[in-house]
Symmetry: C3
């Protein structure tokens, strides 16, 4: 019973994580289309946005083989999305409801990537603070690399609503929950929830870092 609940939770996380990958990939597609890139550019930027953060984390801790290299179906799926994006007009990318939907997925991805990143770093032997940092890096460095390739100052470094800070708080809640004896799955869910709530709160009330 517990097992089946737990595995249905795991399954749910996998589904949402997949949605997170797609959301991050989609931010890459939007950015690349705005810059007038061709299909190859769009595909590359979407791959970088989706897998860049986890790749940087894994290179920093020497965590081989990389996930997307041993699970090529993700890369193939993103190729399908990059191709499909060619047939969608600019109206689609500017549609408010579409952007809202992807904003929600992006926020879910932020929460799951940060806690999953912190968890992987900790399992690789990193201490509390470095695991925290690598959780944040997993969640935000895909976007940082996406913006660098598109020749922009990374959005996440600018004074907008809270974004990296949400990943920071989510990773922190995750790691503290672990120390209080929660199991990894429960701690991940609580951490991801903290990320998502703080992000929604920040967007709604337009809260920024004071400095």
């Amino acid at each position: 019973m517990i097992l089946s609940t737990s595995s249905s939770i795991t399954h749910s996380i996998e589904v949402v994580e997949l949605l997170g990958v797609l959301a991050f990939a989609f931010t890459g597609i939007i950015e690349a289309r705005k810059k007038g890139m061709d299909l190859f550019g769009v595909y590359t930027v979407s791959m970088i946005a989706a897998f860049g953060g986890g790749t940087i984390r894994d290179l920093l801790i020497g965590n081989y083989p990389l996930y997307w290299i041993t699970h090529s179906s993700f890369a193939l799926m993103l190729l399908g999305f990059a191709l499909a994006s060619s047939f969608l007009g600019t109206a689609f990318y500017e549609n408010k409801q579409v952007n809202n939907a992807f904003e929600v997925l992006d926020t879910l991805g932020l929460g799951l990537f940060s806690t999953a990143g912190a968890s992987i770093a900790q399992q690789a032997g990193c201490d509390f603070y470095i695991s925290l940092l690598l959780g944040v890096a997993t969640a935000v460095f895909g976007g940082v690399l996406r913006d660098i390739v598109c020749n922009e100052i990374p959005k996440v470094f600018r004074r907008n609503e809270l974004y990296a800070t949400c990943a920071f708080v989510g990773s922190l809640v995750f790691l503290v929950s672990l120390q209080f004896g929660l199991n990894t799955l429960a701690a991940m869910l609580i951490g991801a929830l903290a990320t998502v709530l703080l992000r929604l709160f920040s967007v709604k009330y337009n809260i920024k870092l004071p400095f």
Copy 2:
């Protein structure tokens, strides 16, 4: 007899690959000189253009030690070229025949780097699609990093004639040829040939990706 033919083919490939390294390095020198960089900048950008693609591939698959780190004569040779580039006036870099000659070398390099990259990825255990992607990455990411360092949106992502697509097709032809039982050397030659022909065809008839 077969062995000697084969080794003379290998020797030919090595010569052309060396020309490819030089051509890629030269694109870095040209770009850096245009930006008014000093000798150190020119040298660094030429190293990045020549070895960046292979380095990214090797970091992604954990393929240590890196080739240029254990074969320092390449890096020394590029230092010689960066130095020599100081004594060539801007007229040389703008000369049409010089640019044409390097365009040809760059195309050869594109073909050989993409098939060699796909081959190395496959030998490291990557599956068909990831080997294909890493073949393309080997061929084009030196140029991507060169453009990022020079603060430009990577040329290869813009809507020009086919470039990355040629590397993609060449890697694909190489990997499919292997599956049809050809030996690595023959498959590499066919793949590189496909890359070069598609590239020449695209430049001649100004063909771009339709989306």
Copy 3:
């Protein structure tokens, strides 16, 4: 006696190296503040400026685990500095004496990072020339990554006073001193001294690379 002298020298080097890390981090803070980044941006850029060079060296030679990942107190300390930088007005960052003080620390860091980087590369089995290059990379690539993230052409590639060249000469002096039989510590001090003197000389007399 010799041991105690030697360990007090080691201690001195550690202190100056720490000052070098701080100086490099501070250049990141200044650059990020100038770009109007928020606390997260400032912290990230300062981390990249301080640890980027050594991280690139270690990734290129597969030298795991990374120093700053196993010594998290550095990353925590930089967080303190990024936080503190929020409370300092722009007047502080534009104060000439402050800038001069950090210029001196930056030069010390340049000397120690280049020789330490060359030493680590050599111990990892790199030959003379690659060790030389990786010494330079250790000293300057933090600044290169800092500038790329801030969407600027890396300062070190532009025609200013000598900078990378000083790291090059310092690494060269270090490696040649080793070949003449000096011990690592003495060779590092001589190499770092050469870096610092050449840099001061270059700034004072406004010497640039002639090409």
